[in-house]
């Protein structure tokens, strides 16, 4: 504890008073985190109920429920720590990128074997993570390759099992977040966060990792290189959601950034402007599956969007992080 005190006192002159850090932590958990997971539970409950009522892949109701629930998850998916991460829950909601095609493989294997795991939610939760979640459901609803594979009744059961599993995962995340919120907001020697610095670092990390993922992965993967664009790598392209995910994530991250910068109006305003520019670019793109990356003109526009997100990253790294007295630490994007 002596050590923590030393670090804290060293940081003090740089950053806002501890009281306001606690206020930020409370605000982010109560106004940013919990409402998102509460909403995810509602939207996935509707998805589960709709799939029970109608499992036809072409059903307008089912597709609408899929979109609404996926929206809710993308708007929360940057909060990928604590209860979201336990038991690989975030991966169970979206396994992506899938560079080796695990999702179609896992689904084909289930269908071919008529794997009985679909009848039991606990058993289904033990199956390959690539065959679960929104992108598995997307394949079943939108990929023609799965429209007539195997037995129709089994496919219907599989769609229902995936929807039920998504809802179960969402409920588990939300339930645990209602307990974890106080851990995050009240750091201490026995908490995973020993100081408000460590808790704040977690939230800052969620912001910069979310920006990194959207710029480098959501946009960078389909962009590929100029000579070899890879439009087929766009996220959720089969249901035309690729660009939507970029926009939803920016809207969510904008809210988080504003709350983290609450005590620093100038930085908050600069960040907000940068987000506004990025979101406007995304909205003007009119290229839902990011297929335009294959044409020089379209690629240029996606590149401009990516650059505008990188501008937000630079701003966060140069101003927000140092002002809060925290660094980004390590994240799972480190590595190959």
């Amino acid at each position: 504890m002596r050590l923590i005190a030393v670090i804290l006192s060293a940081l003090m002159p740089l950053c806002a008073a501890a009281q306001s850090r606690d206020a930020i932590l409370t605000d982010v958990t109560q106004a940013h985190i919990l409402p998102r997971f509460d909403h995810l539970v509602e939207a996935t409950a509707a998805l589960d109920a709709t799939a029970r009522a109608d499992c036809a892949p072409g059903s307008a109701d089912l597709r609408a429920a899929y979109h609404a629930a996926f929206d809710a998850w993308i708007s929360a998916s940057h909060l990928r720590f604590g209860p979201t991460e336990v038991g690989d829950r975030a991966f169970a909601l979206t396994f992506w990128p899938d560079s080796k095609g695990f999702t179609p493989k896992a689904l084909s294997a289930m269908i071919a074997a008529e794997d009985p795991a679909i009848a039991d939610p606990d058993a289904f939760a033990e199956t390959s993570i690539a065959g679960r979640g929104f992108l598995a459901l997307e394949r079943m609803l939108y990929d023609l390759a799965f429209a007539d594979q195997g037995d129709a009744a089994y496919r219907c059961g599989l769609i229902r099992a995936i929807a039920t599993d998504i809802h179960r995962t969402a409920r588990a995340i939300d339930r645990d977040w209602h307990g974890y919120a106080s851990i995050l907001a009240q750091p201490g020697p026995d908490s995973p966060y020993r100081s408000s610095d460590e808790a704040l670092q977690e939230l800052y990390k969620a912001l910069v990792t979310g920006l990194e993922f959207t710029a480098d992965t959501r946009l960078g993967r389909p962009m590929g290189s100029f000579d070899r664009p890879r439009p087929n790598r766009a996220e959720a392209r089969r249901s035309l959601r690729s660009l939507r995910h970029v926009e939803l994530s920016l809207v969510a991250l904008r809210d988080l950034a504003a709350r983290l910068a609450a005590d620093h109006p100038q930085i908050a305003a600069a960040l907000d402007d940068a987000f506004a520019r990025s979101i406007a670019r995304a909205q003007a793109l009119d290229d839902p599956a990011l297929a335009g990356v294959a044409e020089p003109q379209g690629r240029l526009r996606v590149e401009a969007l990516q650059q505008s997100i990188n501008d937000i990253r630079s701003l966060a790294a140069a101003q927000l992080g140092p002002t809060l007295g925290i660094s980004a630490g390590f994240n799972s994007l480190d590595g190959d």
Partner: protein
Amino acid sequence: MPRFLSAASTLTLLISSAASAGDAPATPAVLDTYADIAQATYEDSLTAANRLRAAVDALIERPSAQTLQAARAAWIAARVPYQQSEVFRFGNPIVDDWEGKVNAWPLDEGLIDYVDAAYGGATDENAFAALNVIANPTFQLSGETIDATEITPTLLAETLHEADGIEANVATGYHAIEFLLWGQDMNGHGPGAGNRPWTDYAQGDACTNGNCDRRAQYLQAATDLLVSDLEWMAAQWQDGGAARAALFENEGAGLTAMLTGMGSLSYGEQAGERMRLGLMLNDPEEEHDCFSDNTHNSHYYDGLGIQNVYLGSYVRIDGTLVSGPSLSDLVLASAPELDDEMKTKLAHTMQALGRIKTTAEAGLAYDQMLERGHAGGEALIMGGVNALIDQTKTIERIVTALDLDQIAFEGSDSLDNPDAVFQ
């Protein structure tokens, strides 16, 4: 003599742990130790790769079950020092830029040689997943006709490796060689590794699966390339070498490089990409050394490399100890509690990885642990994952305590999910 050495090193340990706050080693001395360990680790990797090359030459000159077995044993031995070098990757751009040539993974092995029908053909992501260059002396690649009548190191390195910009087109390095020595592991979650017959290298009528001469040519070219790549890297860490020089350009950045390597390997790479992903997918091929079933060792020596960097000591493959002023000494001087925490967590990781290793050596291979519903296997692997994640948290605390620059990140192309952070 060995007894004397161990007594002496025990003494050193006692002295260093008795050191009190205040007598921190100079940063250049800590960086020196780090560079010395890197140099020794790459030199050992080179020595072991030369032994592998000799064993491969023997296999090709006198194909037999014995010479194939000897080449496999040489490959497994070569992994011991190399895996301990992986901790040097992420903090040192010179290593990271080069690493893909020698240890790229995972691979679409159908690019190289024959595969089982269940492997499938070209995929959405990779049009060359089943190219089979050993069976095809000429082929089309991105609109160009490639002449592969002679399989040379240059062909592998400059044309085939990452062909079409696809990272899974791994034509060179340890895992390409591993595939050529073991073949595909067709046992799924059952016991057993790849079982390539030695007759895949027999000449004349005894040759199995065709093109034995070209297969031998490929294996030799890939092994030669591994040796020359390691020669290059070992030289970068000698006095005046570029990697060593880069480290000293800015002492703070040098320390950051050390910690970045430890943290990035622990968290994003090993805990995430290499361990947890396989478990989530329950896929027996989603293991780092999937042909040879040597994954338990790969993980173990990766972990050991991280511990080496922190403690400033490395045991060479000839038994010599390389050691000196360490990061641990530096942390001890200003934050003894944190040094204690780091050492404890590193030891805990080694215990968790050791459990995977001993269990695998007792007969439960890593791919068996990955099976759906295998509670014991899952607990073993998650033990390693959790320990690695936990030690990363302390590495972050050290970055803060030493007041180092912000850790710079490397993007990820394969796991690519911000499963950020700690519970």
